[in-house]
């Protein structure tokens, strides 16, 4: 029997909001799908689009970015920079044949452990429905 598909999701969370939300989910003993692996950066503004591309190229079925809510960035406006890159990158991923649902940016504050749980479960369910990411050998000509 073939093994059931378990999505592998790389999550890149900012140190001050979303990483703490994940800590809070832990201290609150909330339960969510075990499919994400968190990489901590200081700010979502640190997320180089290449990190996302590298994750997909290395076998991730999805990438989740987490930052502070607009106006709440620990570094004032790093999350806005992340948002700009996110939209551009999402567009690019689509052109590469990667479904936009596989790449997600969420604002989750340090107090939103529950929101983190819901987001992760939702993303895992969506990617489970999409199936594993199969990168085409070449980028299709547009």
């Amino acid at each position: 029997m073939p093994e059931a598909f378990e999505p592998r999701i790389v999550a890149i969370f900012c140190n001050w909001c979303t990483y703490l939300a994940a800590d809070l989910a832990g201290t609150s003993r909330l339960k969510y799908a075990p499919n994400i692996r968190v990489v901590r950066v200081m700010c979502s503004g640190r997320v180089d689009p290449q990190f996302v591309l590298d994750a997909f190229a290395s076998g991730a079925d999805g990438v989740l970015l987490g930052g502070c809510h607009p106006g709440d960035c620990h570094y004032q406006e790093g999350n806005y920079k992340a948002l700009r890159r996110y939209h551009l990158l999402r567009h690019m991923l689509e052109q590469m044949g990667i479904e936009p649902e596989r790449f997600r940016l969420e604002w989750i504050s340090a107090s939103e452990g529950e929101r983190l749980r819901v987001t992760v479960d939702d993303m895992v369910a969506r990617i489970r429905a999409l199936g594993p990411l199969r990168l085409p050998e070449e980028v299709p000509a547009s």
């Binding site: 378990e6 909001c17 832990g26 901590r40 590298d54 076998g59 106006g71 620990h74 790093g78």
Partner: protein
């Protein structure tokens, strides 16, 4: 590995916190086989002394030069393990921490999946740590002055503690007087100390202290900078009376053309009236009146006889032309003690507040029983009667799914206190309606016992409604409290003359604005978030900003004062050290490959990046850089790097997570 990297991996059981879900042995055995790993161990409590010694011994014995600890969140113990690694003779940044408790064992039920996750995370860390560079912590000088925001008992106590230690304090209070909520109370539980007798001497001490600059009627408008060097602007609202000239004689208030006070008195919770020129309460500090431009005739029509100015005479302290002023100060640390607001009882319409005149909030009753209150301490109802029966409803806006879910911690005790005081003043029969009596505190349970002995009734049950709809003649003219008595198991209707709503404590309505201004976080319910609930209860995630009092969570006066002392001690520790070590996670430019495009400079919110036209290169001021890494991600030529978060380290972590072994 032939690059000389020798990694020690330590997987922590955390008692059963981790080991109960994650197969710790499996993770440790797995890690032992990873490239570069010289030793891999599991241990019950890695953060304990023996756990830390284990690392240090192995560093010597196995000639380790990198360490990975898989345990809890780095927010909890990263510093602990860095110190341990440094104690073993390595650079503290040759270390990486893996979070397999908050991010694995505590959030998953599937043991195999949680173990697999822990293995992935450890593998990623092993790859990452191999690339770690040695780094030095930076140092920032601490400006010795402290800003305290909020002049309730928390701010007052913190200010006096710091000022007595010889530090200069700016105490900023929004209201015309310091004192906060405590100034409104008559007595404090459980000792029935007179609140004014213990508070007002401290208020006077604030006024008199040469190390305290008190700015009342003022608000902090902007905060810039960082720990050790905050630049703060304070808006000082015009009170139309010069504090430096006023002697506090209050002749002006007496002389106001309003012979009868006609304006709602905020301090007395609207139970009395004041004049347009007024002092909030007799012991106010500063002892200087305020002119309310909304109601003063001179401001409204410009045609007042200005009898107040005549009364002031030669002092000329009244200046109706006074303008708002702005103060700019530099401080090294900040204490937020902005307090709470009482739950608005109108949000629970079933209890009839605002509908039935004889339904009161607890704060109103505090004023009623207060000797300096609107009735001189006499408990009279709005219709002039003295109550013969009183119902106190607990948990109004607390422990309620529809309003606030938390327990406000002080209401059970202040309800007991008010029951005692009302009984003392009126000999009324008193009913307390409670969900659970919560009396954990020194002398609290004894006080509860005392009240029972005094004959106060306690009925367990959440009140359904307060109504004036009488079902039989005995209820006519009364307020009827309808409640299920859950101990007697039947629904009761209890007619009373007066209802007191024990309203809960909630975050101030502008807490979110204040939070943003000071760059701190809020917890789910909206109170300011402490750095760690147990180990750093007065610190925030922003270095140099501390919390005291009910802005952090509902708490009583003893706990507030204790926390204020703790916050003052934290600020003192910073000041006396003279400097703080900073995380070496700053960004830096690789000049060789920098093309001088200038993309990075405008991205930095701290102005840390300068661009030299002369050499066509960017440079980053290490003292100004806060280490967000936004410029690093933006640099088109990859010429900006970030210490601790180097590109290759992050790539190694991502690829490590995804590489199936």
């Amino acid at each position: 590995m032939d690059n000389g990297i020798r990694i020690g991996v330590y997987t922590c059981h955390c008692g059963t916190n981790i080991a109960g879900i994650v197969d710790v042995r499996n993770v440790a055995e797995y890690a032992a086989g990873l490239p570069g790993v010289a030793v891999s161990r599991e241990y019950k409590y890695m953060c304990s002394d023996p756990g830390q010694e284990l690392i240090q011994q192995d560093i010597r014995e196995y000639a380790l030069n990198r360490v990975v600890v898989a345990s809890c969140s780095p927010h909890l113990h990263e510093q602990t393990f860095r110190t341990a690694v440094a104690g073993g003779g390595l650079n503290p940044f040759w270390f990486h921490m893996v979070n397999i408790r908050e991010h694995a064992s505590w959030v998953h039920l599937d043991k195999a999946a949680a173990t697999a996750k822990a293995r992935d995370l450890v593998r990623a860390a092993v790859r990452r740590v191999a690339l770690h560079r040695s780094l030095e912590k930076g140092r920032v000088k601490i400006h010795p002055d402290v800003l305290i925001v909020g002049g309730g008992i928390a701010g007052i106590h913190a200010a006096l503690t710091l000022a007595n230690a010889g530090k200069h304090v700016y105490l900023v209070e929004r209201e015309p007087s310091i004192g906060g909520h405590m100034a409104k109370f008559d007595k404090t539980f459980p000792t029935l100390d007179c609140a004014a007798c213990i508070l007002t001497p401290k208020m006077s001490a604030v006024r008199a202290h040469r190390n305290i600059t008190l700015w009342s009627y003022s608000e902090v408008t902007t905060v810039e900078g960082y720990v050790g060097n905050y630049q703060v602007t304070v808006r000082r609202r015009p009170r139309y009376i010069d504090e430096s000239l006023c002697s506090g004689c209050l002749e002006c208030v007496e002389a106001c053309v309003f012979k009868q006070a006609k304006v709602t008195d905020e301090f007395n919770m609207g139970l009395s009236k004041r004049k347009p020129i007024y002092i909030p309460f007799p012991q106010a500090v500063p002892q200087v009146p305020v002119v309310d431009p909304e109601t003063c005739i001179q401001f409204k029509s410009g045609k007042c006889k200005k009898t107040c100015m005549d009364a002031c005479g030669e002092r000329h302290a009244i200046d109706l032309e006074m303008k708002e002023a702005t103060e700019r100060i530099e401080v090294g640390s900040i204490i937020l003690s902005t307090g709470f607001q009482a739950f608005d009882a109108r949000r629970t319409p079933e209890y009839g507040y605002g509908t039935y005149p004889n339904v009161y909030t607890a704060l109103e009753v505090e004023r009623l029983v207060n000797a300096s209150g609107p009735t001189g301490g006499e408990v009279v109802l709005r219709d002039g009667r003295h109550p013969r029966t009183v119902g106190i409803i607990h948990c109004v806006g607390s422990r309620d799914e529809k309003t606030n879910r938390w327990c406000s911690r002080v209401c059970c005790m202040y309800s007991l206190k008010l029951a005692h005081l009302i009984k003392e003043h009126t000999e009324a029969e008193i009913f307390n309606f409670y969900i659970d009596m919560r009396t954990p505190g020194k002398g609290f349970e004894e006080f509860y016992q005392k009240l029972r002995e005094e004959g106060v009734h306690f009925i367990r049950g959440r009140v359904a409604e307060v109504t004036d709809w009488a079902l039989d003649p005995s209820e006519e003219g009364s307020l009827v409290i309808r409640v299920e008595d859950t101990l007697a198991a039947f629904v009761r209707r209890i007619p009373v003359d007066m209802v007191v709503l024990a309203t809960g404590l909630e975050p101030r309505s502008d807490a979110q604005e204040v939070r943003r201004r000071f760059n701190v976080s809020c917890s789910t319910e909206g109170f300011f978030l402490e750095r760690h609930p147990k180990l750093a209860p007065v610190s925030t995630f922003t270095e140099g900003i501390f919390l005291a009092g009910a802005c952090q969570a509902p708490k009583d006066i003893p706990d507030t004062v204790a926390q204020a002392g703790a916050a003052a001690a934290e600020a003192l520790a910073l000041i006396d050290a003279g400097f703080i070590e900073t995380e070496p996670n700053t960004a830096y430019v690789n000049e060789e490959s920098c093309s001088g495009c200038g993309t990075c400079a405008p991205l930095c919110p701290y102005g840390a990046i300068t661009y030299s036209e002369e050499v066509r290169k960017a440079a980053i001021n290490q003292a100004k850089c806060k280490g967000c890494g936004t410029c690093v991600a933006a640099c088109p030529s990859g010429s900006i790097a970030q210490n601790l978060f180097e590109d290759d380290e992050i790539f190694a972590e991502i690829e490590g997570i995804l590489s199936y072994a």
